[in-house]
Amino acid sequence: MDVEKKSQRQCIFCHNFCKFSCAPYIATKNQKIIQTQKNYLIYMAEMEKIKANTDLGEAVYLCNDCRRCETYCVFENKKVIGNNRYARNLIFKEKLASDRVYEIYDNFIQYGNFLGEKKEAKEIRNSDKDKKYDFFIYAGEYVNFLAPEIKESFIKILTSLNKNFIFCDDEDPDGILALDLGMKELAQKLMENNFKKISRYKFDTLICLDPYSCYGFKNDYKDYGYEFDCGIIHYTEFLENNISDIKINKTDSHIKYFDPCMLSRGLKINDSPRKVLSFINSESNFDLIKNREESECCGGHLSLIFPDVAEAVSAGFLKELESYDDKTEVLVTACPLCLSNLSNVKKSGRFKIYDLAEYISRNID
């Protein structure tokens, strides 16, 4: 039995103990979002016992791939994203996904990015190609289009450290969003292009500003046969190793760290951001009550397809935090989607929300 089928079966034959943890389910109460039910219906459709329809299509895309359900899975199933991609690929091919999904697809085809923004292709300068760098910075689509301040901030940090780095002006999409949305063939093409483009540069370490790209480069790219011959790290790991060299003004704000799902559950990077924060701030504990593997959800890439649901999820989180925590002033995260989703909540209460790179760069002496 292949991995997806085994994983699908585990979700169907399950006691449903992940149900409480599913933020989109809590926000929408759409029973079909829950892994058990969704996989059951997909299976029934594959067995031709029911006809898949747009309602099922919507449910399949209403999961934001936060993988919180995996934390509570009795089967210790860590293949939920694989399950989702499999189901979405079926739905996508059957033309049963929402219009917004096909718009994103068209945007990728026509403009080379999910947002449909026009960009001019730039040739790589000879000097860039020939020179050897210590670090290649890959921002990723979410950073480029939703949270460019992360890139600006991180470049400011690298510059202050006199690091030898390069970033690509006309970055190609990494293909991970396309993969997550079930556009398998397109994703493969995007991965191939991106791999080729990055491979033209000479560098030792690839620093990803987006945890999704980082996870994708380390795992999905390998699965598709594109293996980078260099170290791949998330920028929080770089900061952990270099924070002591940054001239920084310490802050005394009450800070909590919001663990991004792909960083905590995907990449298992939990200590690096906390160590960086402890360098700049005297707070003894940056943990929210639900943290690390149990961390709550910001809405993830639902903001691209179902923005109302994403806002309900992030607003729900902030509202609840405000109801029991009267001390925290600043929420720091380390993901463009978390930053964007939490900042976009119309009433985000008293919290100031920053990405870690942004928070550090603001406090550089």
Binding site: C14, L41, D55
Partner: protein, 498 residues
Amino acid sequence: MFPAVTYQVFLLKRFKTRYMKLSACLSYLYKKDDFLEKKLAEIIGKDKVSTDIGDRLCFSRDVTPLCYKWIDLYKLPPYTSDIVASPETTGDVIKIVKFAGENNKKLFIYGGGSGVVGGVIPTERGITLDMSRMCGIINLDEQSLTVEVQSGIIGQNLEDFLNKKNYTLRHFPQSIRSASVGGLIATRSTGQFSTKYGGIENYVVGLEAVLPDGSLLNTGDKPRSSTGPDINNFFIGSEGIFGVITKAILKIYKMPEEVKYQCFIYRDIFCALDSIREIMQSGIKPPVIRLYNSEESRLKFEKLGFNYDGCLLILCFEGKKELVEAEASVAMEICSKMHARDIGGELGKIWFENRFDTRHILEKEEEPGGMSDAIELASSWSKIKKLYTEVEKYFKEKNITLASHFSHAYTTGISVYNIFYLNAKDEKEAIDKFYEVWDDVMGIALENDATISHHHGIGIIKRARLKQELGKGIEIIKKLKDSLDSENIINPGKLIEN
């Protein structure tokens, strides 16, 4: 040993016949009841009504082992509701109940879908009442230590809310991560910390329910009263047949100051049982008392690093530090007297961290021809050893693997949880064997004056034997049902046979 009784009718005649006619079933699934959809949309709003086939299927199954077998065998649940109505307020529930009564449409209540006895599976066509949108926390009374909630809230979501404010429910059924508060009340659930805090009946201070005629009952938040029978108790364990529970006021607790585990190994399970009895009758109340027979000790704990030969007893003490120490020392003395081997508290913590692990059961369900379930019986101290011996002997004779543990202890008796793992040549034979086992073991329980259900409820799996346990009591339930719901509108076929 005990001949199968009439409840086989449920499966062998009606349900099986329906499955045989799969194509007819499919066409009915796709036939919309336009009247129902239009009318319900008019009275509660279009966005609270769904006739989508996916919704109707999802709300027609729970985690009853039969549901898993249906997936591989017949592919569709026997009955699927015509429509799913998702109320958001008590007012919506009243409108739906009245509509169902006026139009003679059956109403099936769906809480969290975590039941294991088919409590939410429709027994005929009708409306499913999805309570999941009624999930609000209405009031936290920090002086009285109560919380008022809408009944659709998932137990774990309520617990998380309370924890953030340094409170806890302390009602921890294994299903807490998917069960709704209303479902827990309607099945008369209990939790893993029940020995100190009691079952759900000890938590419910008051509740609100919509009766089958659409009228509203509210029992308030009085700590106790002597004004006739406790009305709350009509609904606790009612399995929804007397009305729809819409709100509940529950006791809560402050987070315990200290939690301590102690574990012991016994060579003889009956010695361990005697220890538990003595502990319970000594006046101390550990919230967790769990005694695993050697088979379940091995099955459950071997993979977690448990390498002791014998029966494992886990005790937990919690509360004020001084009380915890005092209670633990009393228990230690009792267990030592019974020649138990003290292995420290580590395994207790491991149990706590892994207490939701039902993988061994689910993997059996997933196996072709495999089936597994838990039969939770309870008996008085004077009868428990005989009950345990006879159940164990039955499974041995049938060559079916059995793993048992005792939990939920009282001064007067204890519950025994019998998990069986059966093999058959195919899914059909597995279902037949499943029913045979259930019927036989319930027969053994009744012969030994034990209850056939300690906390999972009756649903559609155990109802044929209920009469034998309740005797005249079943007539009282039936008369109550008749007087409240003469047309048998709400949850027909649940708890009692039609």
